[in-house]
Symmetry: C2
Subunit: 427 residues, 2 copies
């Protein structure tokens, strides 16, 4: 299907910065076919009047656990152990695959409504995220969370599940996969080495939680005499392309290791604050050239999957921590949430509005207070919008939301089901 967006205020990449101008965008099937000068023989099936829209590349959420939106606002203001062992674990143990599917659909609703077109998921219910993302029309990079103290027990089974769903979705062009050993404290060295071997052999990128808490770091020092980053480096983890989530507690040497190995780091600022973990050293990582992207983490520790909120935190908190108003700019944050996210996920065909890239486009309603006056749209996306300005969402060339109406998901049914599910789980 061909779509023509006429004369939208559009954020375009130009070398290393962004420009905003009124222009036309032609979409042919799943691809941005032309921007600006539209070939005269291009015949749109649908034309969108862009006069009242700001057009941007869709956002890329680089760390979440979508099924956990079931547990939104269920366990707050608790210590990490009370939160996890007292509240979340007992629910999780009763959660069924069908529950997880509705949780993931709830996440897709919130992500689409707030401009996210691609997300990275680490899950524990095989096929359920992929099923929800596919039905929602979203782009997703999915990982079965791999936990294993001993590969002969749960670890091997989970790896099998990971490969089973890769096989199931191998022909789906919107769904791809990573291998995700959960963390160094939930996988033993033998299991990690096995996963590294497979990842390199099959050329599947790796995704892991890294240095999220002080406790993780102190245990690592105690057990291995190394920081978590040094330990992973020592067992060859970073020989495969890696996306590391959190990275709150890093030494300067850790930062050097991540930079040298071109590890992408997903900042999850809201989750890190909510669980009392602190502030990741994003400015230092930037200085060393690390590819920074942004994630929401799950709704159990955020409590939202609205990436605009995490963009706003990423732009603001480091200014406060460093008492330096020029630290981490609006434009840098916008890049983290789009182009850098695509790079982190090896989705080199999205994250920018550029001819030949995938048509993953969001249109924001310029008749919104947060966008007026139209002084600087990139600043607006990092500083003033709340996500509700997103009016129309196109993913892989398909309109999945038009004028704030979701076209792919029956929202009321999802709300009905998640409430029914949580009543059962929390009994």
């Amino acid at each position: 299907m061909n779509i023509l967006i006429k004369n939208a205020l559009t954020i375009l990449s130009e070398e290393n910065h962004y420009i905003t101008k009124r222009t036309d965008i032609a979409i042919k099937d799943d691809i941005i076919f032309a921007i600006g000068e539209i070939p005269s023989d291009f015949t749109p099936d649908e034309t969108i009047d862009g006069e009242k829209y700001l057009a941007s590349a869709g956002l890329i959420n680089c760390h979440t656990h979508s099924y956990m939106s079931l547990y939104r606002n269920y366990a707050d203001d608790l210590s990490f152990s009370d939160w996890l062992f007292g509240k979340i674990d007992p629910l999780e143990n009763k959660t069924t695959p069908d529950d997880a599917y509705y949780g993931a659909l709830l996440s897709c609703i919130e992500m689409i409504r707030t401009g996210t077109t691609t997300f990275t998921d680490m899950h524990m219910f095989k096929n359920m995220t992929a099923k929800a993302a596919d039905e929602a029309g979203m782009r997703a990079v999915i990982s079965r969370g791999l936990v294993g103290e001993d590969e002969n027990f749960g670890g091997a089974k989970r790896l099998d599940e990971a490969f089973e769903e890769m096989e199931n979705y191998k022909d789906n062009r919107r769904i791809s996969f990573m291998l995700a050993p959960h963390a160094i404290y939930t996988c033993n060295t033998e299991y990690l080495k096995k996963i590294i071997g497979i990842a390199i052999g099959e050329n599947i990128p790796l995704n892991i939680h890294l240095s999220e808490t002080r406790y993780e770091v102190s245990e690592s020092l105690k057990n291995y005499g190394k920081t978590p980053t040094e330990y992973l480096d020592s067992i060859g983890f970073f020989e495969q392309k890696t996306l590391a989530a959190h990275c709150v507690h890093l030494t300067d040497n850790d930062i050097e290791i991540l930079a040298k190995n071109k590890v992408s780091v997903s900042a999850n600022p809201i989750s890190n604050l909510k669980l009392g973990n602190g502030f990741a050293p994003i400015p230092k990582l930037m200085e060393k050239g690390v590819n920074i992207c942004i994630g929401t983490d799950s709704a159990a520790s955020n409590n939202s999957l609205n990436l605009f909120r995490d963009m706003n935190y990423t732009a603001l908190i480091h200014k406060g921590v460093n008492e330096e108003a020029q630290c981490v700019s609006a434009e840098e944050v916008y890049r983290f949430a789009t182009k850098n996210g695509a790079e982190a996920l090896s989705l080199y065909n999205t994250g920018e509005l550029r001819v030949g890239k995938k048509a993953d486009i969001i249109l924001l309603d310029l008749n919104s207070p947060s966008l007026n006056p139209y002084n600087n749209p990139v600043s607006a996306l990092s500083y003033s919008v709340n996500g509700s300005e997103v009016d129309t969402v196109i993913i892989d060339g398909k309109i999945v939301m038009r004028k704030k109406q979701l076209l792919t998901i029956d929202e009321e049914k999802v709300y009905y089901n998640v409430n029914k599910i949580i009543r059962r789980l929390s009994k």
Copy 2:
């Protein structure tokens, strides 16, 4: 006019905490007439089906400069002096009263849309905020910002303007006033003493920027041998009821002084981060029993007047700074943004859904991803909503927004005008 809200999920105060239950709310003219059992002779002129709504007291924004929404997203990622002297001041010097009126209307649009029913404004264009707030149907506590190195020049004129607008709006039950010496670095001691005398004589509360920057503190120590708080205390400032904005850089003694004098503190977390000022010691202030409320500050340093964002920051940043997930709870933040705000503004008749209080009520659409499942609505308001869930807003018993349609302001006209204004100002 009588309004009946039927069976909404409602957040009610119960002694020192909040409960949520399905109930009916009857509004008679500007007052909450009954909650729960509705007298049989109550005849509503309008009935709102509350089945799909979460009902809450309206939010109270305790610090802003509403005309400055004109400068939204205009000057970002700059040092404080480049921001103020390089970008904002030159615009401000060209801004006319009519421009300020449109800026204030833009702010009212954003505040109503995101659930704020009352705001506190410090302005520099007499009558313009009051005019905008009155037309928008909002409740506002307004102050002419008083700046004076010498009371015989600008200082006296500004005080005259303050009294002139108090006289103009003395019969308006939604508009009240404070006296607002801008800050200790923009008023000399003589002028401050004069204002204190008038405030006590006329019994008008005081509003001031306090200890916002490290520079303000070091200059105060240099000039007076005292911190800003100690200095104000020494000249008798706190003998009148005071609302102090920011309070980022406080000593333990400052905190004691503020607590002893029952000064209310408006936390403005986003503005303090954006300008690189840091984190106010909110947990310490709470420990000493200081009345904390929340403000957005202006859109030139936020860049939004959506108080839900500042509530979220207030709930999260102190958990990060103190590495303590139990620090500042959702319920405390909700109280800061409602009841404590009312207390800070001496508006003892709003800030809670309670019989006899003013009917300042917001209804949020439960069919929103951020509110599902309905696990804990108070947590939702502090942690997961983005403000766009607000569907219907009642202020002083009048519906000012119904099903996301503003009834009091012509939005498109405001957007047209603010864009035209900023083009002229930035030439």
